[in-house]
Point group: C2
Chain length 333, copies 2
Amino acid sequence: MTVTIYDVAREANVSMATVSRVVNGNPNVKPATRKKVLNTIQQLGYRPNAVARGLASKKTTTVGAIIPDISSIFFSELARGIEDIATMYKYNIILSNSDQNKEKELHLINTMLEKQVDGIVYMGGVISEDHINQFQTASVPVVLAATVDQTETIPSVNIDYEEAAYEATNLLIDHGHQHPAFVTATEETEMNNQKYAGYLRAIKENNNEVKEERIIKGDYSYDSGIEAIEQLIALENRPTAVFVASDEMALGVIHGAQDRGLDIPNDLEVFGFDNTRLATMVRPTLSTIVQPMYDIGAVAMRLLTKYMNKEEVTDQSIILPHRMIERNSTKSE
Amino acid sequence: MTVTIYDVAREANVSMATVSRVVNGNPNVKPATRKKVLNTIQQLGYRPNAVARGLASKKTTTVGAIIPDISSIFFSELARGIEDIATMYKYNIILSNSDQNKEKELHLINTMLEKQVDGIVYMGGVISEDHINQFQTASVPVVLAATVDQTETIPSVNIDYEEAAYEATNLLIDHGHQHPAFVTATEETEMNNQKYAGYLRAIKENNNEVKEERIIKGDYSYDSGIEAIEQLIALENRPTAVFVASDEMALGVIHGAQDRGLDIPNDLEVFGFDNTRLATMVRPTLSTIVQPMYDIGAVAMRLLTKYMNKEEVTDQSIILPHRMIERNSTKSE
DNA sequence: TTGAAAGCGCTAACAT
DNA sequence: ATGTTAGCGCTTTCAA
């Protein structure tokens, strides 16, 4: 039924080894025989079986990617970066959603190891001891993308979230807002902690006592941005600037404020985080922190290839540069 | 180094066959031995090798998903539907981006077949003869998702794009606009053709001569929406309503119009297509055609499982229902 | 209920 | 430059 390397060998009057050599581009084949083999491969419509190859060679040229939610505009951009570099290095991606659910995450890691992936790019929230243990049992390299592991055990690619949040908050303070509000998320990930820490640092450096009521926790969704700004507006002393931990929530904040009759940025300045495509798809356009999602994915995958090839790696915790981009949701000087 | 089924068998004093049976949940194992085996699996930290299993059983429990661009808000939603159902049926997904590039598409199909996927969910634009041939050489089932094959050779899941476009155009006509404009895309996919046909049908039924200058072709991007509306506004006789073939372009149209001082919907009514999350993330919120992306992905994957299990399939071309949702970018009665 | 053994299709020494 | 052969780790008859 299906054509195997054996069939090709027989038809071409060579050994399996020779066929294998031409299929794998091994130079130790006489051009004439190579041609002959190539021909009969063509004729028989032979298609190498990657599973058999994987078993024999102990390499599958596929890597696992565990992602919270591929339908998120943030993660899908990351995934694209991963995939492009994977393709460049001839790897395929097994992609699975974890919904940041610990059980699922652990289970997925296991499944991917069963499938003998050559490496894993992991995106998630909390990196627990269990995760690290699971990673250790893997005989393959793992790289975290946009995911911070406070123990620094696992190689990772991130930006400096603390510093970025600090800068954004400071910009708002510089615009004359004594104590900008902060809309963040409930999940206690290290990334969120860092953003929070950066915000706090800026507030405190400004000699402010931290007003807890100006810190609202959402869930990174647009709707939770709307809810957050409504709570903020309801405050006795409503803030005149908000730093929001994601662009999607920031759009919610902007629209929620506009729906209540506020003018952005005159009544309320809004600063986002991520610079997803959403940031320019809103009026006024959103000032935000540029987090290079695509690059994080790409660099993470590139790093993984180095580990998979057992290349020397100088820096296992890569921090990519971020920057602020001021658009129209904040005032210009 | 790595623990194999053989090691487990030896330690547990049973045969490999028995270990295989308990791993695969075969009931023909005495509870006592099952327990014994399970214990030593635990002890040794045995992890079944899915590649070996795949070679022996000729099933990999992984399916291929070929997608134009995972970072698109439209396709990533589809992908999530596919993945969720795949997980439900214990399949993993190999996900690859094609960028609608024919070479890449054909190459990806081949790669996935080499990897011995049990089936393929395909999303793309033009389904050429080459595609169909390629699919035929596959010994595994293929299902198209949000992708129409005019020859109806390959099973598929879609909505009725022609009818949907017709309805949307008609709504605009009913609102008193003699000849709404149409912003579509240049690529000549069957899906686009259907949308175009629906638009034309509505225009013609309204006894209009088709004004070509009111049909603008973009590339489904936000920016091309902006460009499109600028062209339309520049027209001598500018249209007062636009039907746009995707939500993302529709946002561009809305913002482009607003930037030119037009009021939506009073000066210009805008109707979108897809009902991506973007539709509610804009002011005014976007009236649009509800295309159930997630469901299309989910149903496509479900259909694929039926083929993979060799179940009876009654309907190989599934048309899911669509509907219109009127929000604030069009006038209410 | 359990075991023995023959593959699955390929790679990778090793030999020639 | 080419061939031989022993696995890779598992499933699956077939026997017992």
